[in-house]
Symmetry: C2
Subunit: 396 residues, 2 copies
């Protein structure tokens, strides 16, 4: 890990809260901890940020790796604080609490701020040990994480390259499929299903060192629900939404991209909606630059879509057709993170990495979404996605 | 989800703590919440257990799916508790807290127990709203989860079937590899590496609807560290440890299996250690039945290994060679869960699903581990693993 994060905003928050340190107690599935500690481990460990540095508390099993890999200033083993003896005498829960309290004391800390997600069991236990525990409710680490370092942008770009390879695999399957009598796509003599395309996407990502929890390959009515992953046979003359959000297994950084394809003719209305979505996408992108708000970018996408005659959540908060989600979100160690490109989105800053992904949905027509990933710059954006936009699938 | 969990022990704990309900505030990465709610969602939701049922609080986006899929007795949308209005007036953090407080009040709950991992931000916020919040420190839901229903055992068995297919793929690659002049394994003209075998394992698991975060394919000295995933070329005349722990993508249940192979001759000492490990494995397995403690099962594995002249953590707590981990652990919605088959392991009960996985490690010789997954029965165990045990790899 080479994030080398700038934690000055966190130290400012600690000063405002009048506490000695900031403590995280989680495993590496917590991206804030992974970011602050520069360390990733499957089992819980603790990260303490003080004025004089970042301090890790890990199990003996993780000690060697933490010392060589973590970006922290000091690494301590639980055994330095008599963990085994405390657990033997007081049980696992109380022994762990006492060990963390001793670790804090060793670093001169008797008041801490903690993230909202900090375990209540640890918080209440430390309070009983005499530490003052205050929740930092603004999510200051999430805000710091929103602005990427050059190294982080490189990692996200690398994941997006893998994503492009996966999207090309999917597009080629659809482009080269045969169409049988009832309109079903057929590949290598077998019905081409969402599941089959998803599997090929996953295999391509594996070959590029990436994994993913889920992918969307949604045809026809499935695609009209932005959260439907899709299932079953793919058909000609229907819209097919493909949304891939892989994560690099080593670095933990995500990519994110969506394209919409149709074999044959999805109809004039579908083609019109595709063009409107594409226009909204371009208009939103052109609005992106440091100083503009996420809300303004979202507003521009809504303008285009409403002007073309479709509903948005702005024109009708209760609509379930039209543009029924926000324009984008931050992407990094989490797939959804700060900043927001939505009605509540604040000012964009250089180094923010955001998706731009307007869409138009209707069960009667299907779904359309077009999404790139970009990094905000002082005078615009750099697109981290290099992938053709077009409704008709093309084989390489 | 069809767990249909027996929550009477949880209700007993609530009575002992003199509280009205048990609240979980997490996403489906928290296995306790997934288990209790019978629901899985990527975004946070809340599960409240009271005397009269299990109650979910979800976003509007998840409402339809929660209603059709979840095992809960009632499902509420945040909008029923004026979520948007509260967030607009008080911000996201405070608005969410108020919504959860209103949901609790609606169910007649003004005192709650929460798991140790419950977010401190929510706990302290609810306390400010007047709710009494107590941490349930014994992990009662983990204890309930340790005893599997028949349906759960079937899910674990299904994942273990996928695991067997993946292990067979790996074994076949090693069995059919050529050995080049310097002893490196070569397959299809390319050096056979840990990474290549891992990739084939992952692809096989994908084909079976399973995913995994990591796999161990560790050769020679790599294999002597039980936590080393392994990397680089595989060699003949060396021990190769393969440990696969996949998770079914739909059900969330894990499998777990380890085998150790060697092409050519790993030497007399390695073969002796393999036989001792196999004997320890068999002896530990034969000890398993309801009423026996995990500690006793672990002790039997230690007996065999110590008698053969190797160290264990029992004979020398500071050893870094010999048998340097515990004999097993529970497996279910988490890869490591209750019960423990270790020096602190309590009484095994019918329905516990545990791994049995003794091993012997030494950088000078390499590592050996043999692992099956079994379900404890009243008079023994049922093995959920059907996979040959042998040092020499065999192609099907």
């Amino acid at each position: 890990m080479n994030v080398d994060p700038d934690l000055s905003a966190l130290r400012g928050a600690l000063e405002a809260l009048e506490v000695d340190g900031y403590l995280i107690d989680d495993d590496a599935s917590d991206s804030d901890q992974r970011y602050v500690s520069g360390f990733s481990a499957p089992d819980p460990y603790q990260t303490l940020v003080t004025d004089d540095g970042v301090h890790l508390l890990v199990s003996g099993l993780e000690y060697g790796r933490a010392n060589s890999e973590a970006g922290a200033d000091t690494v301590s083993r639980r055994s330095e604080y008599e963990y085994q003896e405390r657990v033997a005498e007081h049980g696992s829960y109380e022994g762990t609490i006492q060990t963390i309290a001793a670790f804090c004391e060793d670093h001169g800390v008797d008041s801490i701020a903690v993230p909202r997600t900090f375990p209540t069991g640890t918080a209440d236990g430390l309070r009983e040990q005499g530490l003052a525990v205050t929740v930092e409710t603004d999510g200051v680490v999430e805000v710091i994480r929103a602005t990427k370092t050059e190294w982080e942008v490189d990692q996200i770009r690398a994941t997006q390259r893998a994503n492009q390879a996966a999207m090309a695999t999917a597009e080629e399957l659809i482009a080269t499929a045969d169409v049988d009598e009832d309109g079903t796509l057929v590949h290598d003599g077998e019905t081409l299903t969402s599941e089959r395309v998803t599997e090929e996407i996953e295999i391509t990502l594996l070959n590029h060192g990436c994994g993913l929890d889920e992918t969307i390959v949604a045809c026809g009515e499935d695609g009209a629900d932005p959260h439907d992953r899709g299932s079953g046979p793919l058909s000609a003359d229907e819209l097919i939404v493909i949304d891939i959000f892989p994560r690099d297994k080593d670095t933990g950084y995500f990519g994110d991209m969506t394209r919409t394809f149709a074999r044959g003719d999805p109809g004039e209305e579908a083609r019109r909606r595709y063009d409107v979505t594409h226009d909204a996408f371009e208009a939103a992108l052109e609005t992106v630059e440091a100083g503009v708000t996420g809300s303004e970018v979202h507003g521009v996408a809504c303008d285009v879509i409403e002007k073309a005659g479709y509903e948005t959540l702005r024109s009708d908060p209760s609509t379930d057709t039209g543009f029924i989600h926000s324009t984008g979100h931050g992407v990094g160690l989490d797939i959804h993170e700060q900043p927001s490109v939505s009605p509540v989105g604040g000012e964009l800053e250089a180094g923010h990495v955001i998706s731009i992904e307007p869409g138009i949905y209707d069960p009667a027509v299907g779904g359309i979404r077009i999404e790139d990933l970009v990094v905000v710059t002082e005078d615009g954006y750099e697109n981290l996605t290099e992938y053709r936009i077009g409704l008709e699938p093309v084989a390489e």
